[in-house]
Amino acid sequence: MLHWIALLPGHLEPCPEAHASQAAHHDEPQAEPQVPACVMPTVLSPLHLGWWALQFTPRVALLEDAVVLEVQASERLFGGARVLRERIVDEARAHGAEAFGHAATALAAVALARDGRAKMPDDGHDDEAEVDGLGKLAVCLDTLPLDVLPGVATHGPTLARLGCRTLADVRALPRGGLSRRFGAGLLQTLDRAYGRSPEAFDWLVLPPVFDARLELPGRVESAPALLFAASRLLQQLCAWLAGRQAGVTAFTLRWLHDWHRRDSSREGEWTVRLASPTRDYPRLSRLLAEHLQRIQLHAPVGDISLHADAIEALPVSSQQLFQEYREDQLNAGPDALLTPSAQRAQRDALLAVLEKLSVRLGPERVLQARIQADHRLECAQQWLPAVQALSDKNRQPTPAKLLADTPQPCWVLPEPLPLALERGMGQHPVYQGRLTLLAGPHRVEAGWWDAHTGHARFTRDYYLASSAHAGLLWVFKSQQATDEAGSPWYLHGFFA
């Protein structure tokens, strides 16, 4: 017994701006008031809903305005017919599908979905009807009106004048006369819907590359306003990625100017790179919004396109042997990191926020350090952009016991701070009061091998010093000859 699910997409708004301006929500005070951080998803067209449905089964087809899926072969993989059906219906509703039906034949599923929609046009509640077995299917179809079945609806007015109100009335007519008067198509449609003759479909195939274009309804002058239109393309991208079971790691937004000065190009483009592959629409939309804030358009834009540059297969979270904690992350607390899928989700959440910070502040200001085996404090760690460092798969964990022989401060000054001297009795360095040397010297004499990198060789005696107000300090006395005025004492770090 085959298992068909029919999805009826909602109606597309003709103008993205009209919808987006209502759907957009403001959650950031710092953003411009008229530009939202993210655009809520809108309704997908039947083709893109079909792309999205390809993640569940390779057998997806378009039937007039409906998307039909044959999911019988996938039931076991997704945890049973009922679980799969509920999942598809829930997720399709989030993508704007309005009505659902499932039955043993595709036409019957469409008919049931349409019938449900006709009864409850604006109510988003579950309109699905359960039909199993060909006998029950016939009983259920017999009561439906004529306009729900695609091949029958065209002859609806004529059949109505013959006195037919339901499909049962049409089936009761003599087949020979029906065939002569309405052509073979009507009988064929009825037989297919009732499971008496086989159905044939042109299966939907994903395009190998994603490159979608959208003509804007009006001229757009500022880059952040492109977000509304670009979000629609992003949603199509997410549908395409879902069908491929992949995530995007780089995509390019291109735009075409309506007019342009002679010295400037007619086109422009901006590539967005991601730290980890994703097809999470809110994350992509927020990231694109941040990028658009940085783009300056030099002329109005009439037309945009989106191209997926690089995609990667996304790991599918495997079935858990034990029921996983489906708690809110808040309550899960540190235990949330016990399962591999939770760890992956954590990593993605961290990368997403670091990406966002990097876009606004610049990658050189969101940093992570790597410990280097060097005795010079300036070279003991190397700061890298955090997104790059975290997404590096070849990273080796740093051995714990590096440089265990000398005390290491917790804060380090990027440039050693020269300390004044108290000239009274002897020569004592001063930093918020006279310093008391507690331990030392620790001689660091290094750097002769890479004088060319700017860290010239030096000889320093490090001391642990105590200041009345600043606490424990890491100071050094340079052993190199300084000019007359300079003090040989420097502050280099804090034991804070």
Binding site: Q30, Q329, L330, A332, G333, P334, A336, L337, Q343, Q346, A349, L350, A352, V353, L354, K356, L357, L361, R365, V366, L367, Q368, A369, R370, I371, L377, A380, Q381, W383, A386, A389, L390, R395, T398, A400, L402, A404, P407, Q408, P409, C410, W411, V412, P414, Q432, G433, T436, L438, A439, L464, S466, A468, H469, A470, G471, L472, G493, F494, F495, A496
Partner: protein
């Protein structure tokens, strides 16, 4: 001022309350329970005085410092190391200096778990902190906010409720006089020469704590180099020399004189606690 009379009527009525309501009522003279999970601070003397026995998650903790880069890691290091051990990360937003990872990794803070965000302007710091709190990842967020208004603190505190980890906000000592939405406020200073941490809890869900906690904790490997702690300072000291900002170092002021200058609304936080303590 009718606040005390309101809180006085509470204990009398508490006996008649249904059990689940009575559990939700917190009397000002009793130590509050933490609403969320806590992370042990690693200082037993401090844990004993913190509601729930540690730093709260999903809430803001304010640390007031006379000057930055004085004792942050010594106070928070053990708790942050625990966050890292559990798989979380540590985000530093607008730190005063670059942290030194070779020193911090000895405390258990791995270099691949520590992220430094160089936000400079106050608006950038607030924005970055808010984004880190909204991300929903298990992390400890440390934010240096030298200039921040009370309503901005309130907003961050509301955001912190969604965040599974702890949030520490570092502010200058002069912010002690301002009212703050943070449920836990700590004044951090240093003692005399081996510089034990001097911690004063100025606001908590519990009775007022007048004494200054002295926490003998130093970075790993440093203890052998330091002079021995005078035995007197091991015991909790009754309000001794808290360090003062470097700018006003010529005229040191004690916390008692600060208390007189404390404006009205800061004292309001305490009114309920004082009143119920006077009753019992």
């Amino acid at each position: 001022m009718n606040l005390p009379s309101v809180s006085l009527s509470l204990p009398r009525g508490a006996a008649a309350l249904p059990e689940h309501v009575a559990q939700a009522v917190w009397r000002g003279d009793a130590m509050g329970r933490a609403a969320s999970t806590v992370i042990a601070s690693g200082h037993p003397a401090l844990d004993a005085e913190l509601p729930g026995g540690g730093w709260p998650c999903q809430a803001m903790t304010e640390v007031l410092l006379a000057q930055s880069a004085q004792a942050e890691w010594r106070l928070l290091g053990p708790a942050l190391a625990q966050v890292v051990r559990q798989g979380g990360s540590v985000l530093l937003i607008g730190p005063p200096h670059p942290p030194h990872l070779p020193g911090l990794s000895r405390e258990g803070l791995r270099d691949d778990r520590l992220i430094r965000v160089d936000a400079r302007t106050p608006a950038e710091r607030l924005w970055a902190t808010e984004q880190a709190l909204k991300a929903g990842c298990v992390s400890a967020v440390l934010s240096w906010l030298p200039q921040v208004r009370p309503e901005q603190i309130r907003r961050l505190h509301a955001c912190a409720a969604q965040h599974p980890g702890p949030l520490f906000v570092f502010r200058p000592v002069k912010a002690q006089a301002d009212s703050s939405a943070a449920p836990l406020r700590v004044l951090l200073g240093l003692g005399a020469c081996p510089h034990p941490l001097q911690v004063q809890i100025i606001k908590r869900r519990g009775p007022m704590l007048d004494q200054v906690l002295s926490l003998p904790h130093w970075p790993a490997g440093l203890t052998s180099l330091l002079p021995p702690l005078p035995p007197r300072s091991l015991a909790p000291l009754p309000a001794v020399s808290l360090p003062v900002p470097a700018s006003s170092s010529t005229t040191p002021s004690s916390p008692e004189s600060d208390a007189h200058r404390r404006p009205h609304h800061a004292a309001l936080d305490r009114a309920a606690a004082r009143a119920s303590r006077a009753m019992s």
